[in-house]
Symmetry: D2
Subunit: 345 residues, 4 copies
């Protein structure tokens, strides 16, 4: 039923890119070694090393985003350390306490359109170290940013550099959650390319699930800093896939002929069309998002009307009269669907 409505609920509602499905078909009866030791993983790792410009980058493939966050954060932190992130950070707000489950606190900073501020970051760290009782507090052990953020916004190169400098000064690893990284990379006007991100971050992941894969995220350690016995730790978290090549092959295909970027571009183009449509029709944007998530302010009346036509998420209530709703495009969104939406809003 809901499928008859125009569907913009998220970017993980469709299957996988054609090339990926063809890949599974054409290799169906090949026999690969297990647990990520296969040739597809190796090839994908190599392509990612090239794309990121980090020759000795260490790359591992994990099935999903929360799993990846829990794994990376808990294996890179010392037991007494926490991870710093925005109040709106996925790890702080929408992972059901997966970081705390692994024993670590999320130390939150105010969010500014989903982003953290380097000065506030310095303040938090300095306040900790200047506190005489800091041995009774959680040590700042890592900085987490998401790019695009949970609000669809992007860090500029200068902003990420500023954060990376703080991290360097205080010897804190910088971790970038790229669940929707492709959409950030293809956003018009963004000056943060993959190589710059790889250069600035100590670890980050390239999201597959939301960018055309069936499932899978590629974690990249850029400083020869993959945690010791990382495969055992992946296994210990229940995150080591027997058919590791299922994720490896998908990334091998996504990083062939720029497929990852091409898929991302479609979402960006469609989001731009959608955003312009809403603006033209007089809607107010909640945040000026340059990526595939668009946040629109609507009155209760508008909300009800839109619900008859489309499927989307109510992001938050602003007050009794108004809500923020979220429309998401994806690698698979069709132009005609967006155009139809704009017609009827």
């Amino acid at each position: 039923m809901s499928l008859e409505k125009l569907y913009f609920k998220n970017d993980y509602s469709e299957g996988a890119a054609t090339e990926i499905l063809q890949g599974f078909l054409s290799t169906q009866l090949e026999q690969n070694t297990g647990y990520g030791t296969d040739k597809y993983c190796k090839s994908a790792e190599e392509k990612i090393r090239k794309a990121t410009g980090i020759e000795d980058a260490q790359v591992k493939f994990i099935c999903g985003g929360t799993q990846t966050n829990q794994l990376v954060i808990s294996t890179m932190l010392q037991p007494f350390e926490g991870v710093i992130g925005a109040q709106t950070a996925h790890i702080a707000a929408h992972e059901a306490g997966a970081i705390e489950y692994s024993g670590h606190k999320v130390l939150t900073l105010p969010q500014h359109d989903g982003k953290i501020d380097p000065k506030e970051l310095v303040d938090l760290i300095e306040t900790f170290w200047n506190d005489e009782s800091h041995e009774h507090m959680v040590y700042p052990g890592m900085v987490y940013v998401s790019h695009p953020t949970e609000l669809g916004t992007l860090y500029t190169k200068a902003e990420l550099e500023a954060i990376a400098n703080v991290c360097k000064n205080y010897s804190l690893p910088l971790y970038l959650d790229g669940a929707r990284l492709g959409y950030g990379l293809m956003s018009e006007g963004s000056d943060l390319d993959l190589k710059t991100i790889a250069k600035l971050c100590d670890v980050f992941y390239i999201g597959g699930t939301k960018v055309g894969a069936l499932c899978g995220e590629a974690v990249v350690f850029t400083r020869n800093n993959m945690p010791k016995c990382f495969v055992a730790q992946i296994k210990q978290h229940g995150a080591l896939m027997a058919k590791g090549w299922v994720t490896g092959m998908q990334f091998d295909i996504l990083f062939t002929d720029d497929l990852y970027l091409k898929l991302s571009k479609n979402a960006i183009d469609m989001a731009k069309l959608l955003k312009e449509g809403f603006v033209k029709k007089g809607y107010k944007l909640h945040v000026d998002s340059p990526t595939n998530q668009q946040f629109i302010v609507v009155s209760n009346e508008q909300l009800e009307k839109l619900r008859e036509k489309a499927v989307f998420e109510v992001w938050e209530r602003l007050d009794k009269e108004r809500a923020v709703i979220r429309f998401v495009t994806s690698w698979a969104t069709k132009r005609e669907t967006v155009e139809k939406l704009i017609e009827v809003i």
Copy 2:
């Protein structure tokens, strides 16, 4: 290179059944709701309820086996309880401490061809309760069996009933790890069918990864005993797939027209052929396995020769002269490959 050899290393080396790959292709651009709320999950759950004969069974799909074990065990146990299993149990031996990572001890029993003995189980439980200091010990909180076991063997109906009775007497949930369940169900002479298993166990999982799926296991709670807020707990473990339908759809297809059993049957037929071949050639079996894992005793010389022809796993060293090696067939194993193997051994 190794692909030119005859490959019997495991049952997760090939891709997925044709029907599954076709399923992904034919639904590529459908838009499904996330996190397992989609129609494919619902349909698969319904089919599994039917196949297991438990009308109100609660079914969830998880990406992999270790994840499933950690999740089920840690969410069903009280914090002060441990899980009882054989010394050879996967959770005791080959999951990198995933159960302990979740805070729980694995209480081990001797293994008898991979199986636990109901009397020894009673002994362990009684010894605990009779110990005046049992508040200083780990409480037995659950019983774990694998079927087929890690050694390819199967419980008989009488054996599983005996264990289930012990569990009932002591109010301990019985959990069956069915990573290779299909191969157990199709083994000639086994008197344990799916409905009986569902009736005897409080929770079990039906393995997909090793039986023709790309990835995925179906957890079945049979007593309306799914842990509270289980979806939140799956998320907390990092195990909730955004594209939940990726696993749901695979089980929907596996449980259509008995595909799951048909795929399993091939592995069993091929294993039988392989086993007979080895026996005819004078090899000694380490365990008399009626399923798709065959354990052969070889001298060092035989080992070296076989390595030139085939790919398999060295299971353990018996002594300086002899080792046990493992050959595994799968849903995808071809008759000609087995025949060729028998020729050259």
Copy 3:
């Protein structure tokens, strides 16, 4: 050296009340059973049941406050739940992540002179339940208050009732951290007595370490709601003392002839004297604390001068020019020390 200065750093700097030390002496060679099964624990439990007016209250003695918080919170919460507390709550700010170590998130509310507001509490809970994605969030599972708070302030009876009502409405246990409970009970003008606290809270602890004991806190479960196999869980946390009677006997003595209250009264009297002295000399109070912790606003110059005379803690910096400092009195503080302080400030 610092001992020659006037010492107001905290309320755990002196030893134990004379009666307690005499108790240890007079029972030195008695042979008691271990792990809290002795007669002193039993007697203390009985006296606490009487003092709290809860006939079937369940009482256990734990060595320290953070241990107690971790133990109570983690054993009463479901794995997917967090505990709600003020941003200034000890568990949120100064326990080095002990709650997160046990796998649970601390969900923070704004603090108002160290206290939480029942309306904001309702908001947090309602926002959670109204969020369509709440299965991806940490469930509110318990409410934590400290009384006196970390800022020395006290809840009124009406305030605690309001919070208890919210807890009741949402079926959340209310937990009161009474590390300094005695000082709250003896504060002039407080309308919250021990029986009312016991009636309103599902669990709380009566602090001994900071109120005249060598070490020890008494946890009181008021609704027959002690977690299952609690002794085993205390042991599992490493918190079960072999010589359980060391803490039990101390509480037995503290709850004989109102010793606990008498010790507390001294600290309150001395704090009042000290507070009045500071105010008379023109100092500004940071918070109007009716208990044994007094927070004074000082200029940098004042800070340096005071440091020559007294030992206290710098609580926080207000700005470049001003800091908040904390003076603490205890059961052992002498009138002459306070008078000498007032003379020299």
Copy 4:
């Protein structure tokens, strides 16, 4: 009632040595800084450094034994590592899963009168490293021995050296649980003195609770290898005492004028007397223990008779006819009590 019987249940039934109680009395109103930063801790650390012969040993005081074991083991292990110990090791058998609660597996070896065998230790480690799948297993990360063992036995110098050599060869820290260390040091004929233990072990603890203290254990890191930010980690475990000097002062006194050894000697002398008495009367020893725990084999009839005269623990049932019972002497055991016991058995 049971107090009228002759009491040999354990070595933590009496209070503390006179010198310790006097220490508390004479310093009652001194004001010490908190959390182990006081002069008594410093003095005790210094005395322990001297007694152990390790000039730069790092010493910390913890309230109890299980707490100490959980803390030391979990902070020294990597997340993917387990600790190796005998099946009878306290951490394996009688700590209610405290090690697993901290996320780590206890890897067990056969016990030989409570001790582990260096060859079996090598086997376990070699088997791990030679296993092709060891990334799916728990890494051996530490070796745990208790001295005296849970069966009262002692390692010889040669035995501990052999184990220490294995540890060195495989870069595994060796941890010695000295809950009853004093009784080991004073056992006649033992060639393992404190300095040798300190030299051979990477970390160990000197038990106070069972050797005359009210509570407290002293952890000694001998290789400048105290885990990073250890105080914060103690706090995070809920194990940092506000009045740290309560334990520090006790060890300061125990390590003055050899009090620790003198107290221990009494238990050894009384145990010898008791053992000889049982043997003379024709009882069979279960283990030949040279320390303060004596294990006697009794028939059911003997058991019932002894129960009328004395309090002791039933250690285990050997068969339907016979049990092993444990008699324990302590620093406080009186000669006349032992003599009376021997009379009546």
